[in-house]
Amino acid sequence: GAGVSQSPSNKVTEKGKDVELRCDPISGHTALYWYRQSLGQGLEFLIYFQGNSAPDKSGLPSDRFSAERTGGSVSTLTIQRTQQEDSAVYLCASSLGLLRPQVREQYFGPGTRLTVT
């Protein structure tokens, strides 16, 4: 079946511009995560959505970052007034989540490579 998809695959933007990154999770997966992967570093948790519950935003690095998830499916990560340090690969993952979501493995998308010039 279809996996997690993300778009665009690559995004180059100028410093100060806003960007939107999209994630389509696997159908039926109620849990959705966003991560940031910087060169030579591990994945940094950004935000977590579970069904209709309020998202866990504890990983968002600044108020320039926001995310929403419409209808419990597609999610958009928005970065306002981009800075060069925002350059990274942004990964989305989804998992089954209604029952004991913490034991579920995540299925990752291919990522969006963001370059801020």
Binding site: V4, L43, F45, Q106, Y107, F108
Partner: protein
């Protein structure tokens, strides 16, 4: 603070030899531990996980990992490496007594298997 350490940036092994990719963790509560693999130009794929029970867990592609509570380690192993195992491997932990929504990932270990 929660963290995951993968002390080796790169591991080189000859095909057919056993391989080990090391992972140690630090959490305040009980850990749930995971290994993921990232092949070039592809997303991360789940390999195996430890939740509870037997300390030795077996996963995809012949990989296994052993949970060692006293050493706070969860090393990934395979008895006989294949060239196709060459990839980037990530260890991850959830702290079940803190914010279990969050995964903490290591920085990754690049595995090179030479023919």
């Amino acid at each position: 603070a929660q963290s995951v350490a993968q002390p080796e940036d790169q591991v080189n092994v000859a095909e057919g030899n056993p391989l080990t990719v090391k992972c140690t963790y630090s959490v305040s509560g009980n850990p749930y531990l995971f290994w993921y693999v990232q092949y070039p130009n592809r997303g991360l794929q789940f390999l195996l996980k430890y939740i509870t029970g037997d300390n030795l867990v077996k996963g995809s592609y012949g990989f296994e990992a052993e949970f060692n509570k006293s050493q706070t380690s969860f090393h990934l192993k395979k008895p006989s490496a294949l060239v196709s195992d060459s990839a980037l491997y990530f260890c991850a932990v959830r702290d079940m007594d803190d914010n279990f929504n969050k995964f903490y990932f290591g920085s990754g270990t690049k595995l090179n298997v030479k023919p």
